[in-house]
Structures are given as C-alpha cells and as structure tokens.
Point group: C2
Chain length 313, copies 2
C-alpha cells in the first residue's frame, strides 16, 4: 500500500489523506488500520474536555507552544459538532489550522459529530492510530465534555484535563455534566475572572469527596489568553504520565483502550451485518407502519426481524 508506506516515511499529505479515509469509513479502512497497527502504541494521548465556551481551543493552542518548545511532535484531534446545515468544518478551525500550518511538528484535524453507529468515537480512535503510526509523540484530543458520546471519547486518553471556567453559576452546571470523574487534572481557565478561586475551591471539595487512594487530580488556574499557568499544566501532565508509568497504570490504560476498541469494533461489525441482512431480506415499511399505528409493539417486531434473518438466540 503506497499510502501507508508514505505515511511511515513521514509524508504529511499521506497523514491527512489516511485520516480522511478513516473518518469517512472508506472500504479500505480496515486494511489500512491493520497495516498501521504494528507501528502504533507509542504516542501518549491527552484528552482536553470542557463545556462550550470554556476556552479549550485557545488553551490547546497555548499548550502546543509549550510542548513544541520541549521538542515534542503533536497531533491534535479537535472534536467539533458540525456546523449547522452545512455539515462542514467551521471557519474558525480552518483559520486555526493555518496558524500552525508552517510548523511541521504539529498536525491538527477537526472532526464533526457523525450520526449513527458510534461513528464519531470510531473515527477518533482511527485518527489516533494514524497519527500514532505517523510518529507523533503526543496526541491531544479536544472535545466538548457535555454529551455522553463526547465524554466517552476522552476516556480513551492516558491523561485527561477537564477545563472549567469561573463564569457566573456555570461551574456548578459544568460539574453536573458528569465530567468530574474522568479528570486527571482540572484546569480553571479564565482564572482572572471573578469567582475563579471559588470555582477552584468547589472543585477541590468535590474531588475530596472521592476518597479514593492514588493520584490526586491537581486544580490548576490558567489564563489561556496570555498563557499564564500553561507551563504548569504541561508539567502536571508530565507528572501524571510519570505517575501512571511508575504505578504500572499506563499498561492498564492501554489494555482498557484495547478492550474498548475491540468492543466497539465487534458492535460495529455486528450492527453492520445485521442491518445489511435486514435491508436485503425484509421490507421494514409495513412493520414500522404497524408500530406507528400501535398495532404492533416494537419488542415483538424487533424479535421477529431477528428471527427472519436467522439471528442466533
């Protein structure tokens, strides 16, 4: 496969093309991933998550500068709900990518949310494989940490930073969003705004409720606009990495990720085959009409469908 060889030789265009193929569920995706797979497993994955408006993008931009100064190469996957109507990448991301276009040590890719079949999570994991095989030292996955699927995505990371802001009343809302438990680090961004200390104190209090032994997530004030505190965030990330390595947890996270990838693939294959079988063998219209008219309940309809395609009990 030329494309894979080009990627392994460091060709950025091959990197971009392979990610696109993976994201679009190209028929050759499986083949590519299989070929790339032995070359993966070296990159360290950082998840950055937080509510819309928490300033994740500018924080990541600042973080990139510090990481690059230390000589590391970085891939960024910015998971971004698609823009309305068009489904395309939004202008801001294009501008953002241009900012780093001259630095060959950085590669940024935006991804929109895909509808069905857990598509987004699979697309992100695929892009991670490609960037990893390409040889990136770190891969940053930036995602809106509000929805279940979006939270699931950062669960694949080795270290996850949850970004909060002191913006009035918002902190509690964000904390409600169930992202507390996935944070290895907590960033209070825009910490020059009033209420920053209160927000930090609230987060620390919630973390103390946890009462688990082991890594204690730091709460880090940051101002991504001027870069204050970003070096500290980078140090904390490296510290967490060391902690995982020293406690044998790094391997545990890798196994978790492998289990998840396997699980998602099994479900994807199973669902694809079942729907293919149903579509080629059965006309669903009547069944759906019967359910809509309450003549048939969805459970018995679903069971009948599976019987008709000889799905094993």
């Amino acid at each position: 496969m030329d494309l894979v060889r080009e990627l392994l030789q460091g060709d950025r265009r091959a990197l971009a093309r392979l990610i696109t193929l993976v994201e679009n569920n190209d028929p050759r995706k499986e083949e590519y991933i299989q070929q790339l797979f032995p070359h993966t497993g070296k990159a360290y994955l950082i998840g950055i998550t937080g509510a819309p408006g928490a300033g994740k993008s500018s924080l990541v931009d600042r973080l990139l500068e510090v990481m690059r100064r230390d000589g590391f190469t970085v891939g960024v996957i910015a998971v971004d709900p698609t823009s309305p109507f068009t489904g395309g990448a939004i202008l801001g991301d294009r501008i953002r990518m241009q900012d780093h276009a001259l630095d060959s040590g950085i590669f940024i890719r935006s991804m929109g949310t895909r509808g069905s079949l857990g598509g987004l999570s699979r697309a992100v994991l695929g892009a991670v494989q490609v960037m990893d095989a390409f040889g990136k030292d770190f891969i940053v996955i930036e995602t809106v940490g509000v929805g279940q699927s979006e939270v699931d995505i950062v669960k694949a990371a080795d270290s996850t930073a949850v970004v909060l802001t002191p913006a009035g009343g918002d902190s509690v809302q964000t904390i409600k969003a169930g992202i507390m438990e996935i944070g290895d680090l907590f960033v209070i961004n825009k910490s020059d705004l009033p209420g920053a200390e209160r927000t930090a104190a609230e987060v620390k209090m919630m973390l103390e409720l946890k009462e688990e032994p082991g890594w204690r997530p730091p709460v880090l004030p940051v101002i991504s606009l001027n870069g204050e505190g970003v070096a500290g965030l980078w140090r904390s990330l490296l510290e967490h990495r060391r902690y995982l390595e020293q406690h044998g947890l790094f391997e545990a996270r890798r196994r978790q990720r492998a289990a998840r990838e396997l699980g998602e693939l099994v479900e994807f294959l199973v669902k694809s085959r079942v729907w293919e079988n149903i579509r080629t063998q059965i006309s669903l219209d009547q069944l759906i009409e019967a359910i809509a008219l309450r003549r048939r309940d969805p459970y018995s309809a679903a069971r009948e469908l599976l019987r008709q395609i000889n799905f094993p009990d």
Copy 2:
C-alpha cells in the same frame, strides 16, 4: 399485571414505579412495554434543548404553568447528566419536583446519563411510553443539547424548541453545537440581557441559510425568570402542532419515531446477545492483551470473535 392495570387507572405511584423499572432495564420491562403499547400514541412530545446554563429548567417550569392553565396534563422527562461520583439525582431536581408535587396534573422525572448500549435514549423512550399510556396530554423532554446522544433524544419529539441565551459570545458557541437543524422553534432566553437582539438576528440569519420550503422556525424572546414571552412560546408550539397535522407531517414524525424505536431495539437485542455469547464462550483477556501489545490488530480480533460465536456473515 397489576402494575399496568393500576397505571391505566391513573395511579401515580404505579406511574413512578413503572418508569423506574423501565429506566433500570428490569427483566419485566419488555412485558410491561408490550402491555402498555396499545394505550400509547396519544401524547404530544415537546423537546426542549440547549446548552448548560441556558435556563431550560426554569423555562420548562414556566411553560408548565401555562399548559396547566389551559387544562392539559403534562409529563416531564428532564435528562440530566448524573452528578459526579454519586450517580444520583441532584438536589435541585428533588426540590423542583417537590414544587409540583401538589399538582396531580404534572409528573416530573429526572434521568441521568447511562453508560453503554444507548441506554439513555432507550430509557427516555421507555419513560415516554409509560407517561403516554398513563394519559398525559403532553410530554416535555428537557435535555442538554450539546452531546450527540442528547441531541438524538430530542429527535424523538414532535416539536423541538432550542433554547439559546445572549450571554457574551456564547451564542456562536451554541450554534456550533449542531443543534440548529433540530429546532422547530428557537427561544432566546434571558432576553433582557445585553446582546439579545443580536443573538436573535444571528439565529434568524442562520435559519434563512436553510432555504427549505415549509415551516419557518420562529425566534422567540423569553425571560423565564419572570415568565415574559412564555405564553408566546406555548402559542408557537401549538401552532407548530397544527402545522404538522395540517400537512400530514404528524404521521411522518410518528413513523420516524417508530422506525427509530425499532432500530434501537434491534441493535440492543443484537448487542446483548452477542456479548452474552462472547462472555459465556470466550475469555477476552488474552485477546485484549495481544491488542494492547500490538501483536494483534483489533479488526482481525473482532472478526475472530464473531467467527467463534458462529455469528452469521
């Protein structure tokens, strides 16, 4: 089944218990849904969605007052990411439910996000069935409209209102979140704040890009704190309902919902059976270890698993 009979006779405790059973995936869930199903299909579903902090809860509370004044009974399903660590309902919702506890025409249920298997969406659809069979005229589904799964939930609604706020810069962020296309109505909440008119203008502009014939989503200024504009929102909801009915779209939405329910059930059954077969027949540890160590790629591992359980190609 006593519980179902009690529900159909209007017993609120039976309503609460059945929703809990459905939410917790009780083994009798299928049986209950099958019995309730012929009694469903009468309720009208309203989706209310928006970013955290947009004031959805207080807006719904105000809307409830107006709906009750018109003599309608209402069920509310508030989809709320679980509180951190505890997994329980948060205090605010308990208080909120108490507010309406004396009004037997209102039934409010909070639901947290459940992990795997599309659990939340199935739980919400189940609760809708139960409330519908109970005889609620309207069912309001209130959800954070940021994540993919959360957006999917409101797609089940007949009319969906997207709640935005003029809070600085937030509007664009929220618009990014991909919820524009699901809105039948747009509410600018907190419209006494500066920037409200600009936000409304932005939304109108984006809606004009759509260029589709048919229903034109209104953009409605509301102040949920004092109730201003809420009666107008209610009128618009009824107008949209009439529009759907007059254009035969109501049935189309019902068929869509039936198709989705059937689809989700098929996938749920398929995944459950596949995992059950895998768990009882195969030890996954070695396979996961091999993937984690890059000795085995996830695709070939997934395909082997499916071969081992004789899953049809």
